[in-house]
Symmetry: D3
C-alpha cells in the first residue's frame, strides 16, 4: 500500500527526515511518499503558522497528481488541518498528534508530551482534546528549542530529557515526541528514561496501515462529508 506523508512546512530536509522515520516504522508492503507543501511556513511554530500550514497542506493534497495512495499521514505535531483533509481525500487520514496519543494510552495510565516551544503547548492541548484523547494527558512540556534547532542532536536529546522529567513529575508514565522533527530520537531517550517513548510519525504510519488493512475509512455522515462544490482560490491571485 502507498501512504502519503505530508510535512506541515516547506523545509525539504525535514520532509526527508520524516519520510525516513515513516519508512523505518512501516510494514513490509508499504510505500511511503513524502509531500512538501509548495507554500506555507518554513517551520510551524504557533497558531498563525499552523493555519497557514493547514491551507498549504490541503492545497498540496488537492493538487497532488502522483500515483494513487491508500492513506494520508499528517506530520505536523499539534498542527491544524486534519479534519479538512478527512473531508478532501477518499482514504483514511491519521495525524501524528492523535496517533501518538492513541498508542500512548495503551502503554500507561497517563502520558506526557515533550514539545519544542512553550507557545505550541496550547495548540497541542486543543488538538488532543478535540481528537478525544486529552483525558489521560498529564502534561505538555516545552524544551524551549525551535523546530529548526532540532538538528543539533546532542542539545535536543539533553533538552528532551530535562523536559521529560517534568512530565514524569506531573504523572506521565509514557512520553510522546511532540514534534515531527524529533523522529528517530525515541529509542535513545526511552532507554535513558526507562519509559516508553512514542514517535507520532511511526504511530501514525502503523495506524494508517491498520485502518487500510481493516477496510476502514472516514465516515461521510456528519462532520466529514465531502467538500461542497464551490469557487475556492488557494493563495493570493496574480495582480
Amino acid at each position: 500500500m502507498r501512504i502519503i506523508v505530508t510535512n506541515c512546512n516547506t523545509t525539504r530536509e525535514m520532509t526527508e527526515e520524516i519520510v525516513r522515520g515513516a519508512r523505518a516504522a512501516a510494514g513490509p508492503g508499504t510505500t511511503v511518499t513524502g509531500l512538501t507543501p509548495a507554500w506555507g511556513p518554513e517551520s510551524a511554530e504557533g497558531w498563525l503558522d499552523s493555519y497557514l500550514s493547514a491551507a498549504a497542506v490541503l492545497d498540496t493534497l488537492r493538487s497532488y497528481d502522483g500515483p494513487p495512495y491508500d492513506a494520508v499521514v499528517m506530520a505536523g505535531f499539534g498542527e491544524h488541518g486534519r479534519e479538512g483533509v478527512r473531508e478532501l481525500v477518499d482514504v483514511p487520514v491519521v495525524d501524528i498528534t492523535e496517533a501518538a496519543a492513541h498508542l500512548a494510552c495503551l502503554l500507561g495510565r497517563r502520558y506526557g508530551v515533550v514539545t519544542t516551544l512553550d507557545r505550541s503547548r496550547g495548540q497541542i492541548e486543543d488538538s488532543l482534546e478535540t481528537a478525544g484523547v486529552g483525558r489521560n494527558c498529564a502534561a505538555v512540556v516545552a524544551t524551549g528549542l525551535g523546530v529548526l534547532d532540532l538538528d543539533e542532536a546532542e542539545r535536543t536529546r539533553a533538552a528532551f530529557l530535562t523536559a521529560a522529567e517534568r512530565a514524569r513529575e506531573a504523572g506521565a508514565e509514557v512520553l510522546v515526541l511532540g514534534c515531527a522533527g524529533m523522529t528517530g530520537l525515541q529509542q535513545e531517550v526511552s532507554g535513558k528514561l526507562g519509559l516508553p517513548v512514542v514517535d507520532g510519525v511511526g504511530a501514525a504510519v502503523r495506524l494508517a496501515e491498520s485502518l487500510v488493512a481493516l477496510g476502514l475509512n472516514t465516515s461521510r455522515a456528519g462532520g466529514y462529508a465531502r467538500p461542497l462544490p464551490k469557487r475556492r482560490t488557494w493563495g493570493r491571485p496574480l495582480s
Copy 2:
C-alpha cells in the same frame, strides 16, 4: 475608534451585509471597515473551507495597508483563525462565535446555537469549547440551509424558528445566530420565540469596543506571542 471586520469568505455581498450589521451595533465614535479576503472559499461550510478561510483572512490582515485600526472582529461563525490573528495584530481580536456565547451566558443558564448545515456543528462545538464557553451550550442545531441560501429571508426565518424549537427543548434559554450571514434576523425571531437572540457580529463589535475602551489587549505571554520571523509564502508560487 476604527474596527476592522473580516469576512471569512470572498463574497463581497456578504461582507457588505456583515458591515451593515456591525455598523448598526457599533457605538457613536466607531468606524467599521469591512475586509473581504482576496482568496479563499466563496462561503465557508465545513473544515476544508474553514482552514482555507483562516489562511486567507490572515493574509488579508497581514497585507492590509489602510488606515490604522483599534480592533479586529472576525465574522465567520465557527471558523478557524482567531488565535493566529491574535498573534499577528497588535490590537484586540474578537471572533463572533465566542462573542455571541459570552453575551448569551449573561442572559440565561443555557444557550443554543442555530446554524446552517449539519456539517458545521462540530466546528462550532470545538470553537466554543476551546474558547472556554462551551459548558453552558445546550445544543448546536442546524437549519439545513447553506450559507449562500440565507438571502431568501422568508425561508431562513422559518428554518430558524423550527431549529430554535429543538434548541429550546434541549434546554436553551437564549439563542445565538450561528452564521454571520444571519445578521439582522435577531430582532424578528426573538419576538416570535419570546427568547433573547444574540447576533455574533453585533456582540463582537461591542466586545471589541469594550476591550479598546478599557485599554485591554491580547496577552503576549505564552499562547499568543508575536509570530517568529521566518520565511512564509502565502499561496502557490508562480510556476
Copy 3:
C-alpha cells in the same frame, strides 16, 4: 443610559470607590448610580457574608425608588445573588466575577484570579464554574489581605504582584482583580507584570452597556422567570 452598581457590603467608602471605577470605565452617555445596602456585612469575606450580602442586595434593589435604570452591575467578586437579581429586575444584570472572566477569555488562553483571603477561593471557583467560564481559569490565588485592608495601596500592590506570579506559574496569561476593592489597581500592576489585568467593575459596566445597546435582556424562559407573588419578609420582624 443609567447603570445601577450595587456594592455587596455596607461600607459606603467602598461603594464610592467602586463608583469611581465604574465611571472611569463607562461610555460617554452612561450615568452610574451606586447603591449601598442598608444592611448586611461591612465586608463580604466567606460564605456566610456572601449569603447575607445576597439577600441585602436583593432587598436594596427591591426597595429602590430612584430614577429608572437600564442595567445592574453587581460589584461583589465571587459573591452570591446574581441569579436572584436576574429574576427580580427587568433589565440586564452583570456580575463583576463573570464579567472579568468573559473579557479575560478574549485576551489569552488561560486566566488567573488574584483575590483577598484564601477562604474566598472556593466561592470564586464555584461562581466562575456556574457562570460557564470556569474552563480557562488556571488558578485562583489569594493575597492574604482582607477586603478592608486593601486601602493601603502599597501593601496591596506588593501582595498582588507576589500572588500574580503564582497564577502565572500555574499557566495564567491574563490576570483578573479578584475583589471590587482592588478597582483602579489594574493599570499599574499590568505594567509591572507585562500581562493584561482585567478589573471586573470596568468589565461589567462595559458588558452591561453592550447588552443594553444591543437590546438584549435576561431570558424569562426557564431559570430566570419573574419571582412568584407570595409573602416574603426581608429581615427579622420587630418584636
Copy 4:
C-alpha cells in the same frame, strides 16, 4: 443526640411535616428539633427566594438560644446556604440535596431528581455539582407543582410518577424526592415504580447521625473557616 432541622421557608406546617419525616428516619437516641425562620419566603421557589432563605436560615441559627445540638440538617432541596452554615456552627451540617444524592449514588449507577417547578432545576443542578455529586445525576425533572401545592397528596403522587418516568428514560436507576415537602412520599412511589426512592430529609438525618457518631466535624482549614468578627446587620434597620 439532638439534630436541628431548619426549614428553608416560613411556613410552619411545612416545618412540622419535615420534622415528622426527620423523626421517622432518625435513630433511637436522636431528638429532632425543627426551626422555622422568623423571616424569609413562605416557600422557596427560584433564586431570589433561595438567597433570601439562605440569609434567614443563617439568622435563625445565629440567634438560636435553645438547648445545645449535635448537628444541623438543612431542609431546603436545592436551596442555598449550606456553606455559610458550615462556617457558622461548630457541628456537622448536612443539606438534604447533597444527602439524597450521596445515598442515591450507593444504590445505582445514575440517579434522577424529581422536583417541583421547572425554574428550580438550575439551582438543583448547581447544588449537586458544587457538592461534588453531580456526575451520576442523569436528570432533574419537574412535576410542574409549586411547593405549597404538594399538600394535595393524590395530585402530587400522580405528577411524581409521570416525571419519574422521564427521569428513568434519561437513565436514572434511582430517584430522589426533589423537595422537602415531598417527605413521606418515598415508599409509595418506590413501590409503584419498582425503583428505590430517596428522601433527602431522612438521608440527611442519617448522615448527620453518622458524622456525629464517628466524631467527624467540618474542616476549618480553607473554605469553611469561622466567620470573621465584623459588623453585620440582619435585615433592614428601623427607620
Copy 5:
C-alpha cells in the same frame, strides 16, 4: 441488624483489625461479621491483586451460609468488585472507598486520600470517579508503605503525616485513610493535622446502617440487575 464486612485479602489478622474498626463505628443494635476470602492475594496491591480479590470476595459471599445479614461492607480501599456484589446480594452494599469520599464531601470543599503504594493511586482515582465522587478529590498521595507494613504503628503514623501535608498543599481540607489496614489511625492523625480524617470502614458501616434503616436497597433497574443463571466455575478445576 447484621452487617457482613468482607476483607479483600486472605490475611485473617487484617480481617480482625477491620472488624474491630467496624464494631467501634457501628450503632448499638448492629452485629458485625467479618469474612476472610478462602482464596485470593494475601494483600491487595495493584490491579492484578485487585481483580483476583474481586472474584474471591464474590465467591466468598456467594458461598456464605451463615445467618442472614442486612448489608455488606466491602473493606478493600480502591479494590474492585462492588458492582458485582451489588448484583449478587439482596441487601445494600457499601464499599469503603466510596463511603469515605461521601462523608468527606460533607466536611470540606476538597478531600485528599493518603494510601499505601504509589501503584495503588490509579485504582483509587478510577474507583472514586466511577462512584461519582471524584470531582472534589484534590489528590491521592502514597506513603510508600505496603499493606502488610502498616502494622508498625509508629512508622505508619509518620508516613501518613508526611503524605497528608502533600495532600493539604494540593488543596485537601479533609483527609481519607486510603487503606482498610489504616483503620484506627484516624483520631490520632486528625489531632496532629488539625483536619478531619475519615476512615472508610467506619464510614461504610454507618452508611450501610443508614440505608438499611431507611429501607433503601440497590436498584435492580439497569446496571445492577441480578446475575443471569448460567454455568460459572470459581477457580481452577481439579485435574
Copy 6:
C-alpha cells in the same frame, strides 16, 4: 510474531470464532493463538461475570506454558482485567474495548457502541472512560440480545441495525461492535448503514502488531509495575 487472544468466557466455540476474526485481521507474519479460560462464566454479562472473568483470564495467562508470544489481545468487550494483565505479562496488552474506540476516533467526530444487554452499558462506559477515550462516545446502545444468542446471524443483524439507528440519532458517525461475539458482522452492517463499523477484535490485533513493530511496551513506571511477590491462591482450595 505471535499474539495470544484471550476469550473472556469458557465457551470454546466463541474462542474459535474470535480467533477466526483475529486471523482475518492479522498481518502476514502473525500467528494467533486463542486461549479459553479453564474456569469462569460461560458468557460475561454483567459485573459479577466480568470480575470472575478478569480473575480467570489472569490465571489463564499466569499458567500459560505454550510458546512465547509478543502481545496479548483481550477479547471481552467492556470486561475487566486489562490493567492486571498489563502488570502480569512482559508484552503489550490491548483490550478490544479500547482498541475499537481508538480506531473509531480516527474515522469520525463521535462514535457509538452497539452491545448486547442493557446491563452491560455501564461497564462499557466506565471502560471507555478510564481508557481515556470516552469523550467522543456519543452513545452505548443495547440490542437486547444475550452473548450466547448472537449465533443466530439473522436476528443479530436485524437487532444491530435497529440499535445502530439509535446511536446515529445520538450523534454517532462511526459504530463499534460492542461484543467479541459479533466479530465478522462489521462489513455487512457497515454497508447497510453507510457508516464505518469497527470490530474490536480486528482493531486490537492490528494495534498489538503496531506496538510490537514499533518496539513499544507497557510502562513499568507507576500504575503497571510488576506484581509484587506474595502468596496468592487462584480459586477455592480443596477441602
